[in-house]
C-alpha cells in the first residue's frame, strides 16, 4: 500500500469523528463532574466535594446499595466464570474438533442470545421460571446471565483460538502427549489472553444488565442497576451520580484491562507466528 493517502481522506470525516466522540463522552463526563458537586440541588454548582461519595458508602441508602453491589459482583463473577468455561469448551469444539453433527446449528445456538431482543429474553425467562415454579431469586438472575454471557465470552476466545496454529498441538501429540496434556500445556496457555478478555467482557456484560435482571429477580433481591433504576425514578440525586460514576470507573478499568491483555496477546501471537514460519 502506497503512502499516498489522498484517496483515504474525505472532507469532514475527521470532524465527524470528533463529533462522535464528543456525543459519546459529553453526557458521561458531565455526570461525573456533577457527582463532585457540593450543592444539594443537582444543577447549581456549589464547589468541589466528595460528600456524595461518602453518602454512597455511609449514607442512609448505603446498606441497600452495598447489598445490591454484593449481589451484582457475586452474580457477575459466577456468571463470567461459568460462561467462560462453557465458551472455551464450545470454541474448542467449533475450531479444534473437526466435523461433528449439528455444528452449523451449534454456531447459531451460541449466537442466539445476541439475536433475540433483550426484552424478549427477559419475558421468556420470567415466564419459564414462573411456570416451573423456580423463584429462588439470585439463582434465577445468575442462570439468565450465564445464558447471555456465553456469546460475549465466546467471541474473543474463538478469535484467539483461530489465530493459533495447530502445529504446536500436532507436535506435542507427535511426542506422545495425551490430548488432555496438549490442551493444558499447549492450547490453554496460548489461549489465555483470549480467555481473560472473554471473562472480563462477560463480567462487564453481567454487571451492566438491567432489563433481564429486572424481570427475573426474586423477592427482595436487587443488583446495582435495578437499585439505581429504582432510585432514579424518584429523581436523579447527586448520590446516584456518584454511584454511576463509580460503576463507570469499574467499566473503564475492566475494558482497559481487557484491551491491554488483548494487545499482549496480539504481540505474543505475532512472535509465535513469526517463530513458526
Amino acid at each position: 500500500m502506497a503512502r499516498n493517502n489522498d484517496m483515504r481522506w474525505f472532507p469532514g470525516f475527521s470532524v465527524t469523528t470528533l463529533l462522535c466522540l464528543f456525543l459519546l463522552y459529553a453526557p458521561l463526563i458531565i455526570v461525573a463532574v456533577y457527582s463532585f458537586n457540593d450543592s444539594k440541588s443537582i444543577t447549581n454548582w456549589g464547589g468541589f466535594s466528595l460528600r456524595w461519595y461518602a453518602d454512597v458508602f455511609w449514607g442512609v441508602e448505603a446498606p441497600r446499595f452495598r447489598a445490591a453491589a454484593i449481589n451484582s459482583f457475586i452474580i457477575a463473577i459466577s456468571a463470567a466464570i461459568t460462561s467462560t468455561i462453557i465458551a472455551t469448551m464450545a470454541a474448542t469444539a467449533m475450531l479444534r474438533a473437526g466435523r461433528f453433527r449439528g455444528k452449523t446449528f451449534s454456531f447459531a445456538l451460541i449466537n442466539l442470545p445476541l439475536m433475540v431482543p433483550e426484552i424478549v429474553t427477559a419475558v421468556a425467562s420470567l415466564i419459564f421460571f414462573s411456570a416451573i415454579g423456580f423463584t429462588t431469586g439470585i439463582l434465577t438472575i445468575l442462570i439468565a446471565h450465564i445464558v447471555f454471557c456465553i456469546p460475549f465470552a465466546y467471541l474473543p476466545i474463538a478469535a484467539r483460538m483461530q489465530g493459533i496454529d495447530d502445529l504446536y498441538e500436532q507436535a506435542a501429540m507427535d511426542l506422545y502427549a495425551t490430548r488432555l496434556q496438549t490442551f493444558r500445556l499447549i492450547l490453554l496457555p496460548l489461549m489465555a489472553p483470549g480467555i481473560i478478555s472473554g471473562f472480563l467482557l462477560a463480567f462487564i456484560i453481567s454487571l451492566d444488565d438491567f432489563i433481564i435482571t429486572n424481570f427475573v429477580k426474586g423477592a427482595g433481591i436487587e443488583t446495582l442497576p435495578t437499585a439505581i433504576f429504582g432510585s432514579v425514578k424518584q429523581g436523579i440525586k447527586p448520590n446516584i451520580m456518584a454511584i454511576s460514576t463509580l460503576l463507570l470507573a469499574v467499566s473503564v478499568v475492566f475494558v482497559t484491562l481487557s484491551w491491554l491483555v488483548g494487545r499482549i496477546g496480539q504481540k505474543q501471537q505475532q512472535t509465535a507466528t513469526n517463530g513458526g514460519e
Binding site: 500500500m1 493517502n5 484517496m7 483515504r8 481522506w9 474525505f10 470525516f13 465527524t16 469523528t17 462522535c20 456525543l23 459519546l24 459529553a26 453526557p27 458521561l28 458531565i30 455526570v31 468455561i85 464450545a90 474448542t92 469444539a93 479444534r96 474438533a97 473437526g98 461433528f100 451449534s106 445456538l109 451460541i110 442470545p113 439475536m115 433475540v116 431482543p117 433483550e118 426484552i119 424478549v120 419475558v123 421468556a124 425467562s125 420470567l126 415466564i127 419459564f128 439468565a144 450465564i146 445464558v147 456465553i150 496454529d165 498441538e169 490430548r179 490442551f183 451492566d208 438491567f210 424481570f215 442497576p225 439505581i228 432514579v232 446516584i240 454511576s244 467499566s251 473503564v252 475494558v255
Partner: protein
C-alpha cells in the same frame, strides 16, 4: 465485534476430533434449556387465557392476538374493526429504530473510516476510545442523557446563560428525546463492525480508481461502499434490533407515554395491566420481526459469499 460471521480458515484442524459433541454439550444444555425452551414456553403462554384480575388460566385462547389486531369497542360487543393502536406503537418503534440506525450510520461510517485509516498505535487508541462507551452501562448512559437534556438540565442552563435561547428548549418526554437516546445508546454498535470491514478493505482499489480519474465521492459510492457493505449491514442490524426492543430510552426519556414495543411489553408484566398472554403475544410478534430482519441478513451474507 461482528458476531455471527464464521471463519472457516482453521476449523479443519482436529486435535480433539470426536470430542466435538461432548465439548459443545454444555452450550446446548444451557442455551437450549434456558433460552430456547423459555421462548417456546412464551409462545404457549401467548395462547393462554388471562384471568380476570391478572394471572393465567391454562386454557387455549386467541384473545391476546385478537386484542392486538382487532378493536371490538369499549364494551367488547361491537363488530371487530382493525385495531390501529398497537400497530401504531410497532410502527413508531420501527420508525424510531430506523431513524436511529440512519443517524448512527451517518455519524458512524465517517468515524469508522477515519479510525481505520489511522496508522499503528494511534489507530488502537482511537478504537479504544470508541469501545469504552460501548461497555458502559446502558442505564447509566440513559440517565446521563436524561440529566443533560431536561428543562432545568445543564444543556438548557448553559444555553440560557450564554444567551443563545430565550427560554429552555423542551426536550424531555418527547419523541425527539427517545430518538436521541436510541441514537446515543447504540452509536458504538455501528462504528465497530464498519471499522472491521474498512480494515480489510484494500486501498489499492481506491488508488486504481484515482488513476482512472474517478473522483473521491464516486470512488466511495461505486467501489468502497459495495465492498464494505457487509460491515454496514452488520452495524445496521446491531443498532436496529436492540433499538426496536428498547425499554430504557422510552421509559426514562419518553416519560413512559411515547410507548415503544419494549415499554408495551414491560407494562404487561410489571405495570398495572398484568396481562401475561398479551405481553407474550407482543413479544412473540417482536421476535418474529427480528427473525425476518436476520433472515434477510443471512441471505445477504450468503449471496455475498457466493460472489
Amino acid at each position: 465485534m461482528v458476531a455471527g460471521i464464521e471463519n472457516n480458515n482453521s476449523s479443519n484442524t482436529s486435535t480433539y476430533a470426536g470430542l466435538g459433541s461432548l465439548l459443545i454439550l454444555p452450550t446446548w444444555l444451557v442455551i437450549g434449556f434456558f433460552l430456547v425452551l423459555p421462548v417456546l414456553m412464551m409462545l404457549v403462554y401467548s395462547f393462554l387465557t388471562k384471568e380476570f384480575r391478572g394471572g393465567v388460566i391454562w386454557e387455549f385462547s386467541l384473545a391476546a392476538y385478537d386484542q392486538f389486531f382487532f378493536d371490538r369497542g369499549l364494551f367488547g360487543d361491537e363488530p371487530p374493526k382493525i385495531e390501529w393502536t398497537y400497530i401504531i406503537i410497532f410502527w413508531r418503534s420501527i420508525w424510531l429504530a430506523a431513524v436511529a440506525t440512519f443517524l448512527c450510520l451517518l455519524v458512524g461510517f465517517p468515524t469508522a473510516w477515519f479510525i481505520a485509516t489511522r496508522s499503528g498505535p494511534n489507530k488502537s487508541l482511537w478504537l479504544f476510545l470508541i469501545t469504552i462507551p460501548y461497555w458502559v452501562n446502558l442505564l447509566i448512559r440513559t440517565i446521563s442523557m436524561k440529566f443533560l437534556i431536561r428543562d432545568t438540565g445543564p444543556l438548557n442552563e448553559w444555553l440560557l446563560a450564554a444567551g443563545v435561547i430565550p427560554e429552555p428548549i423542551h426536550m424531555i418526554n418527547t419523541n425527539f428525546a427517545v430518538q436521541l437516546g436510541l441514537f446515543y445508546s447504540y452509536l458504538p454498535f455501528m462504528v465497530l463492525p464498519i471499522y472491521a470491514a474498512v480494515e480489510r478493505y484494500n486501498f489499492a482499489y481506491s488508488e486504481a480508481a484515482a488513476d482512472l480519474y474517478a473522483g473521491r465521492w464516486a470512488t466511495l459510492r461505486k467501489i468502497i461502499l459495495p465492498i464494505v457493505k457487509p460491515g454496514i449491514i452488520a452495524g445496521c442490524i446491531l443498532v436496529f434490533v436492540p433499538s426496536l426492543g428498547a425499554f430504557l430510552a422510552p421509559d426514562l426519556l419518553g416519560g413512559a407515554k411515547n410507548f415503544m414495543i419494549g415499554s408495551l411489553i414491560e407494562e404487561q408484566f410489571k405495570g398495572n395491566a398484568g396481562n401475561w398472554p398479551f405481553g407474550a403475544a407482543a413479544a412473540m410478534i417482536l421476535l418474529s420481526m427480528v427473525l425476518i430482519v436476520l433472515t434477510f441478513y443471512a441471505r445477504q451474507q450468503m449471496k455475498q459469499g457466493k460472489r
